[in-house]
C-alpha cells in the first residue's frame, strides 16, 4: 500500500470483528425503532387480557348449559382453559411479527445494508433471532401471567385453581416459552420464504390449518402425527394436566416444537449463506 492509503486507514479497528454483542445491540435498535412492532406487542398484551375475561366469563355464565364433556375438560385443566382463551390470539400476532421481522428487510431493501454490515450473514440472523425471541419471551411471560391472574378469580367460581397447584406455574411460565419458540419458528419461515405474504400464509397454515387436517387421520397414527406437529406439541406445556390422548408430556412437547424450529433455523441459515441477496 502507498503512504496515502495508510494515512486514512485505522488498522487496529479493522482486525477484530465487532463481536456478537455489537450485533445484538444493532438488532435491538432495529426492533425498537420500528414503532409498529412495539405497538403490536402492546396490543397483543391488552387484547389477550380482554379475551381472557370475555371467554372465561362466558364459560362461567354458561356453565349450567354447557355439555358435560366440556365441563369436565375445564375442570381437569382450568389453567389451560384460561391461557388458551388468550393464546389463540397472541400466537397469530407472534407468527405475523416473526415473519415480518425478516421479510420487512427484504421488502424495504434494508437487507442489503444489513448484509453489507455483516457479510458472513448468519451471525446477523442469529442476533436477530436472539433479540426478537427474548423480547417475545418477556412480553409472553407477562401476558401469560396477567392472563392467569385475571382469569383465575373468575373461573374459581366453578373450579378451584391457584398458582401454587401442581403444574400451574409450569403451564403459565411455559406459555411464555411457547410463544418465544413460536416467534423463532415464524422468523425461520420468514427467512426461508423472504416474502411477507407468502411467509405469513405458510406459518398460519402450519399453525391453524394442518393441525385440524391431521385430526382427520384415523387411529393411533393420526394421533401421533397430530401430536408431533410443532404448535400442537408445543402447546402441551400450557396444560395443567395432560389431556386424554396426548402422546407427549409437556416438556417433551415443547422439545419437539423446539426441534422443528431448530431444523427450520438451520435451513434458513444455510439458504441465507448460499443465496444471492
Amino acid at each position: 500500500m502507498t503512504a496515502t492509503t495508510a494515512a486514512v486507514s485505522a488498522p487496529a479497528a479493522e482486525t477484530r470483528a465487532a463481536g456478537f454483542g455489537a450485533l445484538l445491540l444493532s438488532e435491538w435498535t432495529k426492533i425498537r425503532s420500528v414503532r409498529s412492532t412495539l405497538w403490536s406487542l402492546v396490543l397483543l398484551f391488552a387484547l389477550t387480557q380482554l379475551f381472557t375475561v370475555l371467554f372465561i366469563q362466558m364459560g362461567v355464565a354458561n356453565w349450567d348449559k354447557a355439555e358435560p364433556a366440556q365441563r369436565a375438560a375445564i375442570t381437569l385443566d382450568p389453567t389451560g382453559t384460561i391461557l388458551g382463551s388468550g393464546i389463540l390470539l397472541s400466537q397469530l400476532a407472534i407468527c405475523v411479527l416473526g415473519v415480518l421481522v425478516v421479510t420487512a428487510e427484504y421488502s424495504t431493501g434494508m437487507i442489503r445494508a444489513s448484509l453489507l454490515a455483516v457479510p458472513t450473514r448468519v451471525p446477523m440472523l442469529a442476533a436477530k433471532g436472539a433479540v426478537f425471541a427474548s423480547l417475545v419471551l418477556v412480553v409472553g411471560e407477562l401476558t401469560a401471567l396477567c392472563s392467569f391472574l385475571i382469569g383465575a378469580p373468575i373461573i374459581r367460581q366453578k373450579v378451584p385453581v391457584g398458582l401454587g397447584d401442581p403444574g400451574v406455574l409450569r403451564a403459565v411460565l411455559g406459555c411464555g416459552l411457547y410463544l418465544a419458540v413460536l416467534s423463532l419458528f415464524a422468523l425461520a419461515v420468514g427467512a426461508i420464504v423472504r416474502h411477507t405474504a407468502a411467509g405469513i400464509t405458510v406459518v398460519i397454515g402450519l399453525v391453524l390449518v394442518i393441525a385440524p387436517m391431521a385430526n382427520l387421520l384415523p387411529g393411533d397414527a393420526g394421533r401421533y402425527v397430530r401430536g408431533s406437529l410443532p404448535t400442537e406439541a408445543g402447546r402441551l406445556i400450557t396444560q395443567q394436566h395432560p389431556a386424554e390422548g396426548d402422546v407427549l408430556g409437556p416438556w417433551q412437547g415443547l422439545g419437539v416444537m423446539a426441534l422443528w424450529t431448530a431444523v427450520l433455523l438451520v435451513v434458513a441459515a444455510v439458504l441465507l449463506r448460499r443465496r444471492d441477496a
Binding site: 502507498t2 486507514s9 450485533l23 431493501g109 434494508m110 445494508a113 454490515a117 444471492d276
Partner: protein, 308 residues
Amino acid sequence: MIEVRNLTKRYGGKTAVEDLSFTVEPGRVTGFLGPNGAGKSTTMRLLLGLDRPDGGDAVIDGRRYRDLPRPMRVVGALLEARAFHPGRSAYDHLLCLAQSQGLGRRRVEEVLEQVGLADAARRRAGGFSLGMAQRLGIAAALLGDPRVLILDEPLNGLDPEGIVWIRNLMKGLAAEGRTVFVSSHLMNEMAVTADHLIVIGRGRLVADCSTEEFIERGAGRVIVVRTPDRDRLAALLRAEGAVVTETDADELEVAGLQAPRVSELAAAAGLVLHELAPRRGSLEDAFMESTKDLVEHGADATATGGAK
C-alpha cells in the same frame, strides 16, 4: 485498491458479467460506465459479496469483502437509495448500522451533519425525497470512515446543488488517498469528476484508461475554423488529408490536422480566419462511439453470450 480478476456471473442462462478484470487505484475517482444492462450493478454486488461469482474473484486491499471483520470500516457502499425501513428514522437507521461495526452515536451525528441531514435525522426516513434518501445512503457509506468507496449511481435524484456537493465530496475523498469507484449515467458529470474510467458493455471490459484518453480515442479532437472563404480553405485542407465537414456558411470542422498547420495553410493562401479553435469531443460522444456495437446488436449478441 479494488482488484477484479476474471469475474464471471450468470443469472439462469444469461451471462451478466463475463471474464471481467480491472483494477481501481486509490487516490483518484474512477468512473464506471456502460449502457443499461452492461453489468455495472452486478459487478458492484459481486465486489460487495451480495452475489456469489460463478468464476473469478474480486478483492479489496487483497481481501474478499466477506473476509473483512468490520467491512464498513474498510469499504463504504451505496447501492440503491432506498435501502432502509421507511418506518425508521434516519438516525436509527444509521445507529443500527454503526453499532454492528462497533461505532457509537457520535459518529452517527457526525455523518448526519456531513451529508446535511442533521435537521431531518429524527423523521421517518420513508417520507424522505429521493435526494434526501440518496444523502442518507451516502451517510451510511461514510459511517465507517472507509478508505474504499463504491457508489452505484449516487447522483440519481439529486438537485444541481446536490450534484456539485457529491462531486466535491468524491474529489475530496480521492484527494485524501481513498479509492473512489462510482457508476453514473450522467456523462457530463463523469467527464468533470472522474480521473479514470472503466467502461464495460455486455459484461465485458470495453475500456480501462484515463478519462482524457478515452475521450480522445472515442470522440477525437476537432478544430473549428471560421472563415469567409470557406470552400477554398476546405479544398486546401482536404488536399492535406484532413477530414473536413462544412457546419455553417462560414464554418468548418476539421479532424486529422493540428491547428498550427491549418493556420499555416490559410496564411500561405492569403485566406482570412475569424476563428481557429481546437475543440475536445465530449465524453458522451466517446461513450456512444465505444459502446455503439454493444447497443445496436444487443438483442442477438445476448443470446450468443448466454449460450457460451
